[in-house]
């Protein structure tokens, strides 16, 4: 559809774009990325014919762009600039109708039925029909941008060029505009767009072109471009890649410069005893992975609560009840990890382990009431009673996501070993139990101090986790066993 061969050029004497070649297929959504001054707009202006290239050529549908007359070109290529303004109060309809200019021929340029039809269709597709008689000056920036998109669509283009189309739009219109473009590419429209926002371009584009100082740094699918080293080199800034939660496209997060950080040590002096619950509020939010009743999954959490409930606690609506309880006790459930257990808080046990440059603080409440051997066949059970072994693992160190997963594994292995050594049996099968039916675990790290990439069983972090979990679970099991025996 569009082919760019060895294109170089710029404004005045200096070359801003140097030797750029690429081609775009019909129906493709093609994104152009690059830092400020990398030549994105210059490249687009050369493609649209605003600037004459110094060398190289642009082929549109196989024909050199320079061989098109202005009207011919406007019937194939439409352009949506960042911002178009007029001093005059044209109505939306008048503005969109101008898109038909290239299609009006003859001396009198009469307005045909097809002209009217295309204008109405463009208004509809962009959702601007409702204010078609309003003057442009009465519209918001986002509405205006949609009007100019309608104008471009009224040109019935085969190729649409956009220069940072989402620049002035709020979040919902950004999405609407890009969704609309994506839908139109399915109908065969070819879209080439400059993007400022790496993540949006990764989500919507079929292919991306990363420009650096006027030349192609990399050209390919979003997964090939959205690689930390490319982005960091071109944009000269720290970024971190993450998967999108729902769509298989990579996303980039910028990393703010960190000020000088106070050293933080999570240990027993932060533990607060409140009779019915045990809490820990670290001085900074901790990166957490947990399976608590509240605040499960990934998150940055700044309060951790383990709550005692009665053995006959009503499990219906327990999430709502628990949330209310935590709120009543002054916890913000947005950044709290909350767990529940039938074990008395007096029976909690904790342990700190230091191994080389990393330290681990573990708090456990363990009761063997619902002990289960997970390796034995059984039918699944949908009515959990209050949980029994809750483990908190706090790490004073900076962990990779890999270390988080390994840390959870290591802690679970230590727990199972503690149960075995304490002779806890599955009452149903008579075999050694591996856990209880409602265990919860939390792994939270300060993300400062020494970097720990791994937490397997022979790494310093793994060894510390294993020891601390084993010791604290064992101690808590012994305390609850003692309480049971004394009853």
């Amino acid at each position: 559809m569009l082919q760019v061969n060895e294109l170089s050029g710029g404004y005045g004497s200096g070359l801003i774009v140097r030797g750029v070649s690429f081609s775009v297929k019909q129906g493709e959504l093609f994104g152009i990325l690059g830092p400020n001054g990398s030549g994105k707009s210059t490249l687009l202006n050369m493609v649209s014919g605003l600037i004459k290239p110094a060398t190289g050529e642009v082929l549109i549908k196989g024909r050199p762009a320079v061989s098109y007359s202005p009207k011919e070109l406007a019937r194939v290529v439409a352009v949506l600039p960042q911002m178009t303004s007029s001093q005059f109060a044209y109505t939306v309809k008048e503005t969109v109708s101008l898109g038909r200019y290239a299609h009006q021929t003859g001396f009198f340029k009469s307005w045909t039925e097809r002209d009217e039809e295309m204008v109405q269709k463009a208004l509809e597709r962009t959702g601007t029909t409702a204010f078609s008689e309003k003057p442009l000056s009465a519209l918001s920036g986002g509405e205006r941008q949609r009007v100019f998109l309608a104008q471009a669509l009224a040109q019935e283009p085969e190729i649409l060029l956009l220069d940072e189309p989402t620049n002035h739009l709020d979040l919902s219109f950004q999405k609407e505009l890009l969704d609309l473009l994506k839908r139109m590419t399915v109908d065969g429209l070819t879209v080439i767009s400059i993007f400022h926002d790496l993540n949006l371009s990764s989500l919507y584009c079929d292919r991306l072109l990363l420009l650096d100082k006027g030349s192609i740094h990399k050209l390919g699918q979003p997964a090939d471009i959205m690689i930390e080293q490319h982005i960091q080199r071109v944009y000269q800034t720290e970024v971190q890649k993450q998967p999108h939660p729902e769509v298989p496209k990579p996303q980039m997060s910028i990393l703010p410069e960190k000020g000088r950080q106070k050293k933080i040590d999570i240990d027993a002096h932060l533990l607060e005893h409140h009779g019915n619950y045990l809490s820990l509020r670290p001085p900074v939010p901790l990166k957490s992975l947990s399976s608590g009743v509240i605040g499960a999954g990934w998150g940055w959490r700044s309060a951790f609560v383990n709550r005692h409930v009665d053995q006959h606690y009503n499990m219906e609506n327990f999430e709502q009840e628990a949330a209310d309880y935590f709120v009543q006790n002054g916890f913000d459930i947005q950044d709290t990890v909350g767990m529940m257990t039938a074990v008395h808080m007096d029976d909690a046990a904790w342990r700190k382990e230091v191994q080389e440059d990393v330290s681990v603080f573990v708090v456990a409440t363990a009761g063997a009431g619902n002990a289960i051997d997970v390796t034995q066949p059984r039918s699944s059970w949908k009515h959990p009673s209050p949980g029994t072994i809750n483990i908190w693992v706090f790490v004073n160190g900076k962990l990779s996501e890999e270390a988080f997963v390994q840390g959870i594994m290591t802690a679970t292995e230590a727990k199972t070993k503690a149960l075995a050594d304490q002779g806890v049996y599955d009452a149903g099968t008579g075999t050694i139990a591996t856990g209880t039916s409602t265990d919860s675990i939390l792994l939270a790290a300060t993300q400062r101090g020494s970097y720990q990439q791994f937490a397997g069983s022979i790494t310093p972090l793994g060894i510390a986790i294993g020891r601390a979990v084993y010791e604290s679970v064992t101690a808590s099991l012994q305390k609850t066993a003692l309480r049971k025996a004394s009853l």
């Binding site: 649209s48 014919g49 605003l50 007359s69 202005p70 009207k71 011919e72 070109l73 406007a74 019937r75 290529v77 439409a78 352009v79 600039p81 178009t84 303004s85 007029s86 001093q87 005059f88 109060a89 044209y90 109505t91 008048e94 503005t95 101008l98 898109g99 200019y101 290239a102 009006q104 001396f107 340029k109 078609s132 008689e133 309003k134 003057p135 000056s137 009465a138 104008q151 471009a152 040109q155």
Partner: protein, 351 residues
């Protein structure tokens, strides 16, 4: 629904044309009737019909003379000048994307004035042209000026951005203006003559001036009317117009030349008459919106009517002394323009 919202924001197009034409006709009749000798409307009608479509007319020859040889050509000339200035003003405002531009922005009037003042100063009289020496020289210098401005702008920057053209126009205006001042300073007894010409007047011109003006008027305004869709596109900026398929370089040149020819011809026959090219298009834009396909013809009609009325005022207010017409247009134009601006600020920029 659609009709109603149109009506609340803008005047219906047909109504607008009807009003404008009625205004023009009323202005023509009033302009022809009023003076030291009042001529009734039905006599004017009869005389005009007699001369234009050849009907029999039983009218006193002196009245016929006053109407056909003195007042009517004056009215027609005033109308042509008003129409030229208004349509040129509307076109320049659209092209330069500046509602405050007027036909004189690009230095055309200075060019025409220099030609005229040169003729008055040196008492030049070109053979065969006789008393037409002044307007002919004036139109020539006006057109020469716009070409100089364009050439100069092109020398600065090949793509001729509008900003460059405006700046070049300002440079030429100032330069030529200083020439006029120089000649005024050096003038003795012709001072009044030059000042009078500069203030503008349509008196004692007669049919020959109408004939002189007519070809420029017809050519310039037809070209501008034809370029109305391009003007619409270009008022969104040159780049946008290019994306819409307009051959911007060529069309821009055509608008500039057509507008300058109209302005130059008007200045040449009547001197610099201010505010017509500024106020009339503004007023029309408020009534019917900025679409040049209607803005240009309506400005033309209303501008013609406006200048006829202004001329009527100029010769009757302190009759028998005639005021310069430029004084009248400025006296009316400046306050009206101020009102428009105040209104526009209040409404939040609809104009």
């Amino acid at each position: 629904m659609r009709k109603r919202s149109t009506r609340t924001f803008l005047l219906n197009k047909k109504t607008a044309y009807t009003f404008a034409l009625l205004f023009l006709a009323a202005a023509v009749f009033a302009g022809t009737a009023a003076g030291t000798i009042q001529v009734p409307f039905h006599q004017i009608g009869a005389i005009l019909a007699h001369h234009i479509i050849g009907t029999e007319a039983m009218i006193d020859t002196s009245i016929d003379n006053i109407v056909w040889e003195i007042r009517f050509p004056r009215v027609v000339l005033a109308g042509l000048i008003g129409a030229s200035l208004a349509i040129a003003g509307a076109a320049f405002q659209g092209l330069l994307r500046n509602p405050l531009a007027d036909p004189y922005t690009l230095g055309v009037s200075s060019g025409a004035s220099v030609g005229a003042v040169l003729v008055l100063f040196f008492h030049v009289s070109i053979p065969f042209l006789g008393r037409f020496t002044l307007p002919v020289v004036s139109v020539t210098t006006a057109v020469l000026t716009i070409f100089c401005v364009l050439l100069f702008a092109q020398a600065i920057e090949r793509s001729m951005k509008l900003e460059t053209i405006i700046l070049t126009g300002i440079i030429f205006s100032s330069f030529l203006g200083s020439f006029i001042s120089l000649m005024i300073a050096l003038t003795g007894e012709e001072l009044r003559q030059i000042i009078n010409w500069l203030l503008g007047s349509v008196s004692m011109r007669g049919w020959p001036y109408v004939q002189l003006m007519l070809p420029f008027f017809v050519g310039g305004s037809l070209l501008l009317l034809y370029l109305a869709p391009e003007l619409n596109a270009m008022s969104f900026g040159e780049e946008k117009a290019k994306h819409l398929g307009v051959n911007v370089q060529r069309k821009k040149m055509m608008v500039l030349i057509a507008g300058s020819v109209l302005t130059g011809a008007a200045v040449a026959v009547s001197g610099t008459i201010g505010f017509v090219g500024l106020v009339v298009p503004h007023f029309i834009r408020i009534l019917i919106g900025p679409d040049h396909r209607h803005l240009l013809p309506l400005s033309m009609i209303a501008g013609g009517g406006f200048l006829i009325i202004a001329d009527l005022a100029a010769r009757t207010v302190i009759s028998p002394t005639e005021l310069p017409i430029g004084v009248i247009t400025s006296l009316i134009g400046a306050p009206v323009f101020a009102l428009i601006l105040i209104n526009r600020k209040r409404k939040g920029g609809v104009a």
